[in-house]
C-alpha cells in the first residue's frame, strides 16, 4: 500500500513540478525562491499524502500549499492598488496591440492579488470556484480580481502605446 502511494506521489511530482515552478516564479519573481517553494510544497504534500482522500484534488491542494508556503516564507507587503475597470475603454484596443506587448513584464508588474488568480486560471486551468477556494476568497471577489487583472494588463498595454 505504501509503495503504491509513493508511486502515485512520484507521478504527481513529475506531472506538476514544472507547472508549480512557473506559478511559484510569478509569485516570488525569483528562480531560486521558486525552486525552494516547489521543494517545500512537495515536502509538505508528502507529509500529508497518506491522509489525502481524493487524489483528483491533488493539483488544487498543491497550489494551495504553495500559496501558503509563499505567504509564510517569502511574501512581503506590496502595493495592491489599481483603478476600477473602465469597460468603455476596451473597444479602443485591438488584438494587434498585444502582439508586441511584453506580457511577461506586464504580468510581473501586476499586483499579486490580481496576478495570482489570473495565473491560476490561465496557467493552472482552474475555474473561478476553484480559484476562490485556493485563494480563500468568495467567488464574487475572485471574478472581480480576474476582471481587474485583465483590465490592468490592457491599461499597461495602452500606456506603452501612448508613450511610444
Amino acid at each position: 500500500m505504501f509503495s503504491g502511494k509513493r508511486a502515485e506521489f512520484e507521478a504527481l511530482v513529475h506531472s506538476y513540478s514544472a507547472e508549480l515552478y512557473r506559478y511559484a516564479y510569478y509569485l516570488s519573481r525569483d528562480r531560486l525562491t521558486a525552486e525552494d517553494l516547489v521543494q517545500e510544497t512537495f515536502a509538505r504534500a508528502w507529509s500529508g499524502w497518506m491522509r489525502l482522500r481524493d487524489v483528483k484534488a491533488a493539483k488544487k491542494w498543491l497550489y494551495t500549499i504553495l500559496r501558503r508556503e509563499n505567504a509564510r516564507l517569502y511574501e512581503r507587503k506590496r502595493l495592491d492598488i489599481v483603478d476600477d475597470q473602465d469597460l468603455d475603454a476596451l473597444e479602443t484596443v485591438s488584438t494587434a496591440d498585444f502582439a508586441d506587448l511584453e506580457v511577461r513584464q506586464a504580468l510581473e508588474a501586476l499586483p499579486p492579488c490580481y496576478r495570482e488568480p489570473l495565473l491560476l486560471q490561465v496557467v493552472g486551468g482552474f475555474t473561478c470556484d476553484e480559484i476562490a477556494k485556493i485563494m480563500n476568497l468568495t467567488p464574487g471577489a475572485t471574478m472581480t480580481r480576474l476582471s481587474r487583472a485583465r483590465l490592468a494588463l490592457r491599461k499597461a498595454s495602452g500606456g506603452k502605446e501612448a508613450s511610444a
Binding site: W46, V123, C128
Partner: protein
C-alpha cells in the same frame, strides 16, 4: 444579453462562454472583437508563463523528500526530551549527571579522598566486623536505611577513623559489583560530590546527620550503590 454583461463575463473568463454569450458575440462585432482580443491576451499570458524550468527539478524534489526533519521538528523533539527528562528526574528515576572532581580540586583532607585511602589501604579496624545490629545502629545514627532485596548483600566492616572523627565501614556486595561505604556522622556536607583518586571514585552524599561516602571502581557503580540508601 447586453454588451455590458457580455464584456463583464468575458473579462472574468473569455474561454468559458455561456450559450447566451456565444449568441450575443455572434451578433455583436464589438463584443466579438473583445472576445478575440482577450483570448489572445490569455494565449500571450500562457506563453509568457512558460518560464524555463530548471533541469532535474522533479528529481531533486524526490531526492529531498525524505529529509523532512526541519528545525520545527527538531525543536519539538528537543522540547519533548526536555519534558521527559524533567519528569524522570522529578520522579527520582534519574539523577542529574555528575562529573568526577579530581583530588586536586577538593584537597587531600576531603572525606572522599580520605575514604578512598581508607579502602585502598585497607585501614578499617575489624573490631565488631559482621555485626548486623551495629551496622543498623550506625545507619540509624545518620538517619539512613538500607533497601532490602535486589541481590544486595551488606555487612558491617568495622570501625574506622577519618579526620572528621570515628566512622563506620559497610561493604556492599551485588552479583556484579562491590563497594565500600564509609558512614561519617560528624561531617555534614551541603551537596553530593564525586571525587576520583587512585583509580577509585568516592561519592559523598549528605545524610540527616553527617554524610556517607560510597567508594567504588566507577561512578556508575557508586551511583547505583548510593541509591540503595534511603532516608529513614
Amino acid at each position: 444579453m447586453s454588451c455590458l454583461d457580455c464584456r463583464r463575463q468575458l473579462l472574468i473568463s473569455p474561454r468559458d462562454l455561456s450559450r447566451d454569450q456565444r449568441a450575443h458575440i455572434a451578433s455583436c462585432s464589438g463584443c466579438a472583437r473583445l472576445a478575440a482580443t482577450l483570448l489572445d491576451v490569455d494565449r500571450h499570458i500562457a506563453d509568457a508563463a512558460l518560464v524555463p524550468v530548471p533541469d532535474g527539478l522533479a528529481h531533486r524534489v524526490l531526492l529531498a523528500r525524505p529529509r523532512r526533519f526541519g528545525w520545527r521538528h527538531a525543536g519539538i523533539a528537543a522540547l519533548a526530551l526536555a519534558v521527559l527528562g524533567a519528569i524522570v528526574m522529578l520522579s527520582g528515576l534519574l539523577d542529574p549527571p555528575m562529573f568526577p572532581t579530581p583530588v586536586q580540586a577538593v584537597g587531600p583532607n576531603h572525606p572522599a579522598v580520605e575514604a578512598i585511602s581508607l579502602v585502598v589501604d585497607d585501614r578499617a579496624e575489624l573490631k565488631e566486623s559482621g555485626n548486623a545490629s551495629k551496622m543498623k545502629d550506625s545507619l540509624h545514627a545518620l538517619g539512613l536505611e538500607l533497601k532490602q532485596g535486589g541481590g544486595v548483600h551488606a555487612y558491617y566492616g568495622g570501625k574506622c577513623h577519618l579526620r572528621a572523627g570515628d566512622c563506620d565501614l559497610i561493604v556492599l556486595d551485588t552479583p556484579d559489583a562491590r563497594a565500600s561505604v564509609v558512614l561519617v556522622p560528624d561531617s555534614p556536607v551541603a551537596e553530593r560530590v564525586l571525587v576520583t583518586d587512585r583509580h577509585k571514585v568516592a561519592l559523598v552524599t549528605p545524610a540527616k546527620a553527617g554524610s556517607y561516602v560510597v567508594v567504588a571502581d566507577s561512578p556508575k557503580v557508586a551511583r547505583r550503590m548510593q541509591r540503595l540508601f534511603r532516608r529513614g
